[in-house]
Point group: C2
Chain length 158, copies 2
DNA sequence: GAGTCTGTACTCGGATATCTTCTGTCCGAGTTCTCTAGG
DNA sequence: CCTAGAGAACTCGGACAGAAGATATCCGAGTACAGACTC
């Protein structure tokens, strides 16, 4: 079980985009330089966030990415699932219905108990991430650096 | 993020092994037939559980696998982590220390805030799985099938 | 008849290919700004 | 001097290779039982 590193990039990245001056966008080049990330690959993950309705993208010289909604309405869970997908990491293959002591289909109306156990854990994980909003992510940046960040974003906004 | 299917196999498998008559082992062939699984690949995961101290393996004609400890002392979390590893699915690459607005090392004594958020979610996931023991897994098998299972295990024990 | 020895059959364990998924990259479509030319 | 037009530069988006990990498999090492042989 491994999370894509795009999750880390986007959790940091959305926190940066959220600091952009109102009405301005952050170009992916600016974001890539911010953390010294490969720009082309970063694009892939940004695109996923646009599809998920978390960011909006505008093209052209003054284009870039900005939040699609209020930062308080966007959760870390949404960001993670935009990249990793919302499917559970545990996929029940119904092996109980196979083999020598197969469970007859009429007893399989309810999901497999193992599957329930795993899903419950997954829900606990999701709940934890749902409690964190982009506002919280913004607060994670040390204050001294926040000023530098905002200055840089303002300088790159056109 | 995807869990190996070995997790499903072993959660079911340990539940089966736990039903073996006292003093007997379950051969991997018997376990493979139980759910119609590829025996050779199943071996890989069983080995992982032996390394983790969850099962003990004995060779020879009457050999096989049995629980290394009391079923009430073995948690689902142990089984999952024996296969997937105990590392967090989120690995912090410390990208905050890179790029144009890099955080100076003296401010990085504490772990990155993003990392903390993800680790908290991971701990919630682990806690949920830690609450489930092998005894619980045994109870997940419907009673009517449990009798058939025990009979089969007794017939294959030598 | 009892004990011992040898052989066989059965078990698990490590090393080895194949394939899907993540990682990384490139070039094309679209838009806005700017510069220039004309009125 | 002002306005309109065309060009250029900058943006994002989808299609294309390479690498790492999961999946699947085989053959070898070790052990307990069973049979046969000897005393």
């Amino acid at each position: 079980m491994k999370l894509s590193q795009g999750v880390e990039w986007m959790l940091h990245g959305v926190g940066v985009i959220a600091h952009a001056p109102p009405g301005t966008s952050v170009a992916r080049r600016v974001l890539a330089e911010q953390y010294d990330l490969p720009e082309a690959y970063l694009a892939k993950h940004l695109k996923a966030l646009v599809r998920a309705g978390i960011l909006t993208a505008t093209t052209g010289p003054a284009g870039g990415f900005r939040l699609a909604r209020d930062p308080a309405d966007i959760t870390a869970l949404e960001i993670v699932e935009a990249i990793e997908g919302s499917a559970s990491p545990f996929v029940c293959q119904e092996i109980r219905q196979r083999g020598l002591v197969a469970v007859p289909p009429e007893l399989c109306r309810r999901p497999c108990g193992i599957s329930t156990v795993m899903d419950r854990a997954h829900q606990a994980w999701r709940e934890s991430l749902r409690d964190v909003t982009v506002v919280d992510l913004m607060r994670l940046i040390p204050k001294s650096l926040r000023d530098k960040l905002v200055a840089r974003l303002a300088a790159n906004a056109r």
